[in-house]
Subunit: 171 residues, 2 copies
């Protein structure tokens, strides 16, 4: 019989718990050092409405996440069920996320705007808090583009994408 | 024709955007100055698994939220569809949240443990970041109690509670 170290077991139990905790899905993009970068995130949340501030966390600071973590301007795209393929593409390593199949164009200020998502929020990081190898970011929202319909947003839970709608409301 | 101040309009557009963004639902409890305190939160998210750290935000620091924001130990209860009434009770002001109808008991260390929820995480705040009148908290997870089933978690979206399940998975 082998016994895992307590820390590892806590980490595994923690992962299992949050694997079950549902979250809305967003794609965060920025103009990186050598071109557009973007990641799928299930940690975007409202922090304050007045002033308008959102928050998200980055579990590691490798690759695109490192560039998102240090960018001076970000676009946060809230996703709908129509964006399922986009959510998967921006969650996959070693793929050309801005290649053929991704409809996007740069804003005048350089950030890559994805086409056809739900509401897009342009924001400027306010605070960055390091927690182990993770980073918690809050960002002031400078502009809310396309106040889209609230229908059929994308949800991530238990390693699958779901959609909530009028049909999933509890009485 | 009246024109709202730009700040207000941005705040309204921001609120509308996040009203549509789905989130898992949790109840965060603590031992307050004069007894148990607790709030429903749709901002709880994983920050890091190793070390095990979660994060949440408090939009204001009045009443129970102020006590949650300054507590030295917290219990984060992840909710399932069975906890709908509990979620509503802990989101309602001027109600005795720990009165008749709420099954709970204090841990030896004093934090009020709600019965019958999904996974419960006992944690100790690590960082507190003030953003306007809001507070972003990260907390080290000391214990994961009851690694519950991942089935039927509660989701909040567009001012309604939803449930995701095998039936809501997108192909």
């Amino acid at each position: 019989m082998t016994t895992a170290a307590p820390t590892t077991r806590l980490g595994d139990r923690f992962r299992h718990a949050f694997r079950g905790h549902p979250a809305g899905v967003a794609i965060i993009t920025a103009l990186g050092r050598t071109g557009p970068v973007g990641i799928t995130s299930s940690s975007v949340a409202s922090v304050s409405a007045d002033p308008a501030v959102l928050g998200f966390s980055l579990q590691s600071l490798r690759g695109s996440a490192a560039e998102i973590g240090s960018a001076r301007s970000l676009l946060v795209h809230l996703l709908t069920a129509d964006n399922l393929a986009l959510a998967r593409r921006f969650a996959t390593s070693d793929t050309d996320r801005f290649g053929v199949g991704t409809a996007w164009s740069p804003l005048d200020s350089g950030e890559p705007l994805l086409e056809g998502t739900g509401t897009v929020l342009r924001c400027s990081p306010l605070t960055r808090t390091e927690v182990g190898s993770a980073l918690v970011v809050t960002a002031a929202v400078d502009e809310v583009r396309d106040a889209a319909s609230l229908a059929a947003p994308l949800v991530y839970q238990d390693r699958a994408y779901h959609c909530v709608s009028a049909w999933t409301v509890l009485p």
